[in-house]
Symmetry: C2
Subunit: 174 residues, 2 copies
Amino acid sequence: MKPPVKKTPVARSRRRDSHRLTPHELELGAFFVQMAGILGVPRSVAQIYALLYAADAGLDFDQIQAKLGMSKGSVSQGLKFLRDHEMILAVKAKGVRRERWEPTPSLAASMVNLVRRQVLPALEQSTPVLQRVLDGAQTTGASPEVLERLSRLKRWNARALELFPLMLPPSPGG
Amino acid sequence: MKPPVKKTPVARSRRRDSHRLTPHELELGAFFVQMAGILGVPRSVAQIYALLYAADAGLDFDQIQAKLGMSKGSVSQGLKFLRDHEMILAVKAKGVRRERWEPTPSLAASMVNLVRRQVLPALEQSTPVLQRVLDGAQTTGASPEVLERLSRLKRWNARALELFPLMLPPSPGG
DNA sequence: GACATGTTTCAATAAAAATTGAACTTAGGC
DNA sequence: GCCTAAGTTCAATTTTTATTGAAACATGTC
């Protein structure tokens, strides 16, 4: 299990070159890293997001890499993740090849999307599973308590599956 | 990042002796393992919980160990976790040393507690952090956009901190 | 359409997290 | 009070996940 409190949350960052970051950027980074941890998002992604969040104008690939002292691979994957989850937007000036990145207006929507993408597929897959398990338990003569538990679980699953999509409109129009 | 879908979710279980489990126990186990993954709870804990969930009467330490083919250490730690989070209860028959374990009635409450224990401390710690970051941004003359973002974040944090404790009464009386 | 610049991919590596097992502690029966 | 069964702890190990960096791939500019 994850240790409840990380002993050295910034160890890695310190080990590398993030003294390019101001103390406040570091603090905000640590905050986003902690929240991201709860959502199962890797630290490097959270660091990128935090950086963009506190940046006056969008930052480009190289600026991000330089400020955080991370590899190209990590920056690329991090930006991909953030793009895929619609947490950042490209701002492209004409005649300039290089893209700059900014956080999308709603962090809330991004977070809900993030959770939904983890939970929804799990709920969907499990509907038939729970049905089969319940049927099996009935067939093999499980106790009333167990049958009750399992059907409660199944009802929940169904209800969650109804409610979840209502939590916020899925990204663009759907 | 966690791969979106696990390639071989039951690989480990298969590798060991969980052919002592019925197909339905396995399926239910996989379901709980998946959900637990989202909450950051280790697989072994979820497997123990699933087993107890589908068991007619409580199971004791050795039965759990035998059925799941896991080490004493894991069973002990897993039961400790489940006890600490009030997800299981000991049922003790008189004159018998060995305890048997059953799931507590409300899985919902258990899950809410689980989430709260992860999120609340993070929110609490971050209140002063966000204040400092915002002050710093003001001092160093950040753009209005950044200031707006940061104060929004701070407001959220405060609101979440208010709302969260209301989600369900903390375990016994407090 | 060639070239340079910017980005992605992915196998190798490093880091973090979970699991094991053997030594240790605790509790109950005698 | 001692002995033994029952359970816990924790350093070592295994497993999983994240990161790196070099090679491959794009894409805009001239």
